[in-house]
């Protein structure tokens, strides 16, 4: 039972991540390699706000989302000044700088979460409390799954609303021909900044759920490997619509479980899984540029 609950929890976390990254890839045409940054900001933000300031689940979640939205300005700056490969490089730079900060903001003589030891470096932040909403604790795994499902549902609803209306169509127009969209009087720059901030805030939601569920956050949750994995998920599932990221998240969830049943040792399973993702990326680009269920063709 607990196994199924854990699977569902991780599926929901990945689903939110995939839906948020799809806003950048599928609706703005931006291949970002820095999405784990916002996931990491969500995880660390939630952990530190709940531990140091004693904020409840809702406030800590909102705080983490606000921090991620603020940090998204770095990617917005890249998106406004750079295109194509150079945007990817800019996002990679943001990823490496953030990871370097998280890994090195450490001073063994100070308490965790203080100005001199904000992230506790490679040792991470432990003791993230289980959430409590209106004095109702969500300690039991099933109860936590209920809370996570509610948050995931809200995130899905938000993405649906953003992408299905006029605003979503404007984003598609910007992605396909930003000059034409600008010619029609659309504020392309503002739209880009807004979408990137929304995507970052949603990724922070996923990071917050992760931190609340595991109770521990370390730099690996904000690493370049995570960013590559997130991008692979969206590219494999497909982008530019709602079902593509869902398929991507299911694929991401299913593959490790299949490898588990094939009885690969845990240490090798992670490498095999990543190798399969890499190989799948190559195949997708060659044979199905829109992904398994997407409608935006990369080429």
């Amino acid at each position: 039972m607990n196994y199924a609950i854990q699977l569902l929890l991780y599926f929901e976390i990945y689903l939110i991540v995939a839906l948020s990254l799809n806003l950048l890839v599928g609706y703005l045409g931006l291949l970002s390699l820095a999405h784990a940054v916002f996931y990491g900001i969500g995880a660390y933000g939630y952990a530190l706000l709940s531990i140091r300031l004693g904020l409840g689940f809702g406030l800590a979640l909102l705080g983490a989302m606000a921090l991620a939205a603020l940090a998204s300005l770095t990617i917005s700056l890249c998106a406004l000044r750079l295109k194509g490969d150079f945007f990817v490089l800019g996002s990679l730079a943001v990823q490496v700088i953030f990871f370097s900060i998280v890994q090195n903001w450490y001073d063994g003589t100070s308490a965790v979460g203080t100005w001199t030891n904000l992230t506790n470096g490679p040792f991470g932040v432990a003791g993230v409390p289980k959430p409590e909403v209106f004095s109702v604790p969500f300690v039991d795994p099933l109860a936590f799954l209920g809370l996570s499902t509610a948050v995931c549902g809200l995130a899905m609803l938000a993405v649906w609303r953003f992408t299905s209306g006029d605003w979503g169509r404007m984003l598609v127009a910007i992605r396909d021909d930003d000059l034409a969209a600008r010619g029609l009087g659309k504020n392309v720059r503002l739209a880009r900044v807004q979408v990137i901030a929304i995507a970052a805030a949603l990724a922070a939601v996923a990071g917050s759920i992760y931190a609340a569920q595991v109770g521990f956050v370390d730099p690996s949750s904000a690493s370049i490997d995570e960013s590559i994995l997130m991008l692979s998920m969206v590219l494999l599932g497909g982008s530019g619509n709602f079902r593509g990221p869902v398929v991507g998240a299911i694929t991401l969830m299913a593959l490790p479980e299949i490898l588990r049943f094939l009885a690969f040792p845990d240490a090798q399973a992670a490498n095999i899984r990543l190798a399969i993702y890499g190989f799948a990326l190559i195949l997708i680009v060659h044979f199905r540029p829109q992904g398994l269920a997407g409608n935006y063709r990369l080429s």
């Binding site: 045409g29 291949l31 700056l77 890249c78 000044r81 750079l82 194509g84 490969d85 150079f86 990817v88 490089l89 800019g90 990679l92 730079a93 943001v94 490496v96 700088i97 370097s100 900060i101 890994q103 090195n104 370049i224 590559i228 991008l231 692979s232 590219l235 090798q268 490498n271 095999i272 990543l274 190798a275 993702y277 890499g278 190989f279 799948a280 990326l281 190559i282 997708i284 680009v285 060659h286 540029p289 990369l298 080429s299």
Partner: protein, 290 residues
Amino acid sequence: MQPLINGIVAGLGIALLAIAFQMVNLPARVFYIGLAGIYALAPYLYVAMQPIGAPWFVIVLVVACLTAALSAAFEAASHGPLQRSGASAGAHLIASLGMFVVVVQVIALVWGDQPRVLRTAPLGSFPFMGAIVTSSQLVILAAGCVVVGIFVTAMRMSRLALRLRALAENTLLLALFGYNISTVRLAAFAVAGFVAAVASLLAAYDKGFDPHTGINALLLAVVAVIVGGRMSFWGPILGGLIVGTVRHQVAWHFSAKWQDAATLALLAAFLLLRPEGVIGHRTRLEASAA
């Protein structure tokens, strides 16, 4: 003096990989992340061949030829077909990312994730103008100067270099003159693989290696390309030296842990303020779009 010497030596190593990257990026317009996988693979191939008992320079040559063949295989199997089907730069980048991920994971599966060193003997050191120079730094300095020298000479005198420059300028016109574009591209990928192996073996000799060293090294190389000038074959050499010097100044005056952040801050500054790089020059919008 010490940070300057350290910076120049490190910069030469960065410049070598930057040359390899630019060898593909400029003529073939491929953002070649797969090169990071090749960079990671070279020291493992060297270690695998050591039991044969051949002299080190023979093993280095064989490893460089193998990585050149692998790089050419990437072009033949993936980038070439994508280019012929008119795929976007993004498609090339994702395919290259996929290749990088596969190579790194295969390395980790076969040889493990643990960091290793190529060196068997402890480093010697020599005083030089008030600074200390290690034997591995001397090796990098000598090998780096030789490779850069060969590169500069070849780019000025060889026919292949002329075709590569022509391919970078105008692919269609080169094809109209009757040259086989696929062959020129294949050669560019092979040369990139060869030079990347040399850069990788030098770095592995000095600092050690693990399966994940490639992406960080490539990132530095790309920064060097942008700092030096991304529309030039010579820019990466200058860019590599600048990046190496800045990194070691930061390590000397602040802390080594902020080297990466300082490097990427340098990149951000160039991308936002001088995207054409040190030796590039601004062009009109329509010219750069062509």
